[in-house]
Amino acid sequence: MGIPLLQVEGLRVAVEGKEILRGVDLALYPGQVHALMGPNGSGKSTLAYALMGHPKYRVTGGRILLKGEEITTATPDERARKGLFLAFQYPVAIPGVSMLNLLRTAAKAIQGQEAPAVQLRRRLRQQASLLQMDEAFLQRYVNDGFSGGEKKRAEVFQMTVLQPAVAVLDETDSGLDIDALRVVAGAINAFASPTNAILLITHYQRILRYVRPHVVHVLVDGRIVRSGGPEVAEDLEARGYQGVLEEVRRQESMKGGE
């Protein structure tokens, strides 16, 4: 399988002095979709922010590698230029900056040169129609006055335009109605390729019916307590986080007793 596109080793992250992630390991190989599930407060979004390098999320241990290269201390823009992308759960509005302007500037920053305007336009149009978005949205200000669903679509849209090697999607499914969910899932599937990898962070199993993960992880209290195939998600759905958690605790206490 070669080297992982994204590798996380023993990652510990603290926010304002409080440790949230307590040793997380992940390895996403080319062509893989991983789902990371977990209850509220388990540290899912912390992982997303830490991977992207948010300054408030301080790495206190472990490391992050992108395509084999360590990026643990890289700035967010360096990470983006190396091929990492984060679809935000709550993307912030940038009034006065059009989506088109953002994408043109981002594409230039990431690809190191300005794409010919015609080519960029064509790609934008294609991806917009794939996400069933009106092209007029390119003239709107970034996330400004967007509905919840529009924001999520716009995040996925940016991913498909910028074509990162590794995309982290932070609860992209939450707040989408079933029709929008199908459309967004379709775009994610169209984006997935043997040369990239996706980390799908979600609270619910719902989106996994449309985007099939190769590996499912369950994050509880800042640690991955279970990893496995799609059956892990189904098990979660059946028993709930509480059920899985109790089982994990049982196993741990048994281990402790040996």
Partner: protein, 467 residues
């Protein structure tokens, strides 16, 4: 997202170059009756103007320094050269302008802009307008666009009718100073029904050290006419301070529309103390679009007096204060007639210890029924060393009015920077994008060429790089 201590970096100011002084006449520093008479003599003015100046001088000497705004205590009126005449006569082609002055304006891009997108250009260097042109077709329609000294000679009736009526010398200390020693500036008259679709521009350049530039601009848009006037200004970087104190009077007659755009980019040793006021008669529209990027201290509050039914005034101002700068700016709308409307939008950005203040007045007189006004000031503070204050003042004497007022002070959000950086933009580029977005409502009112220049100036201000 590191914050560094502010450092003076004059290197980002790209217009700081200077020419050697080769002047026809340069007044000795300091202000006196004699200096005022000298200026009047050199100009060969009519008696009424000479008397106007001398009366204004008395008022200037009597009035105390204003203490309610920015700190002006370091201005030394005795150190300033009040009049500097660079050339014998004005050119109407660039070839008639002395080579070294022409080169300066070429470096500032003026002749090129003129060829590309302007209908007329005035270029003032020190105290005098050294170049002036207006397209033939506009001349034929009766449009007048000359420097104000020429206007006093050639259009005495028009000038006497309006000069000093919108801003009398006694208005404030610096209006009095200007009235005493004024020189240059633009005079525009647009006849009834004539629309000047392409902007007219004036460019003001201070070159000498410790120089005072006191241009005087008067624009009259006659009934149903339209004109857009743009002014820009720069100066070299010196250790001794210069003073720029202009007076700008606008008159929009019934149904006229007058748009006045300023991109002020003085060097950091210029005190910029300007009085700008417009009167708008019935159904007339006046728009002040005012950007203050440069100068050490700016105090400027473009005003509109809405004198006729249905008149409208829009004031849109942008201020950027970097290290060592205080931009005290805003706007005033005075409603003195029914169904008048106004908007005052102020956007300010402070960085590196810079300070911005919004100071504004909304006044609605009794009887101005159905008046509408919206005042909004947004301040963006880019680091913990910088500062922004608002001093809004609202006086309403009429009950049947609709008023909105909103003031928002925002720190540049870490989340916005992180978001843009996560899209591959380095921190300074991300910051420039947020700031340019912030002033977008202003930039989109500019002709395209100025909009591009404006965004570039903002990036330069934020880059912190030398060169």
């Amino acid at each position: 997202m590191t914050t560094t201590r502010p450092q003076i970096d004059l290197g980002t100011y790209k217009y700081g170059f200077r020419d050697e002084e080769r002047y026809v006449y340069k007044a000795k520093p300091g202000l006196s009756r004699r200096v005022v008479e000298e200026i009047s003599d050199i100009k060969g003015e009519p008696q009424w103007m000479r008397e106007f100046r001398l009366r204004a001088l008395e008022i200037f000497l009597q009035k105390p320094m204003p203490t309610w705004g920015a700190d002006l205590s370091a201005i030394d009126f005795n150190q300033i050269h009040y009049y500097v005449k660079p050339v014998e006569r004005q050119g109407h082609t660039w070839d008639e302008v002395p080579e070294y002055i022409k080169r300066t304006f070429e470096r500032l891009g003026i002749p090129e802009a003129e060829r590309k997108f302007l209908a007329g250009v005035g270029a003032q260097y020190e105290s005098e307008v050294v170049y002036h042109s207006l397209r033939e077709d506009l001349k034929k329609k009766g449009v007048i666009f000359v420097d104000t000294d020429t206007a006093v000679r050639e259009y005495p009736d028009l000038v006497r009718r309006f000069f000093g009526t919108v801003i009398p010398p006694a208005d404030n200390k610096f209006a009095a100073l200007n009235s005493a020693v004024w020189s240059g500036g633009s005079f525009i008259y647009v006849p009834p029904g004539v629309r000047v679709e392409i902007p007219l521009q004036a460019y003001f350049r201070i070159n000498a050290e410790a120089m005072g530039q006191f241009e005087r601009t008067l624009i009259i848009a006659d009934e149903g006419s339209f004109v857009h006037y743009v002014e820009g200004c720069t100066a070299p970087v010196y250790s001794r301070d210069s003073l720029h104190s202009a007076v700008v009077e606008l008159v929009a007659m019934r149904g006229a529309r007058l748009r006045y755009t300023t991109i002020q980019n003085w060097s950091l040793n210029v005190y910029n103390l300007v009085t700008k006021r417009a009167v708008a008669y019935e159904e007339a529209v006046v728009e002040w679009i005012d950007a203050n990027l440069g100068s050490k201290v700016t105090m400027k509050y473009p005003s509109v007096f809405l004198m006729g039914k249905g008149a409208r005034g829009d004031i849109l101002s942008v201020a950027f204060a970097n290290t060592g700068q205080h931009q005290d700016a805003g706007g005033k709308a005075i409603h003195a007639a029914p169904y008048t409307s106004s908007t005052i939008i102020s956007k300010s950005i402070s960085k590196g210890g810079g300070r911005t203040s919004y100071r504004g007045l909304l006044k609605i007189y009794e009887g101005a029924k159905g008046a509408k006004s919206m005042v909004r000031c947004d301040a963006l503070i880019l680091d913990p060393f910088s500062r922004s204050d608002t001093y809004p003042s609202i006086e309403v004497e009429e009950e049947d009015v609709s008023i909105g007022h909103e003031a928002v002070v925002a720190k540049i959000s870490e989340e916005q920077l992180f978001y843009l950086m996560s899209r591959g933009l380095p921190e300074t580029e991300a910051m420039a994008m947020v700031v340019n977005g912030f002033i977008e409502p202003f930039v989109k009112t500019l002709p395209m060429e100025y909009a591009v220049e404006m965004n570039r100036l903002i990036e330069l201000q934020l880059s912190g790089a030398v060169g």
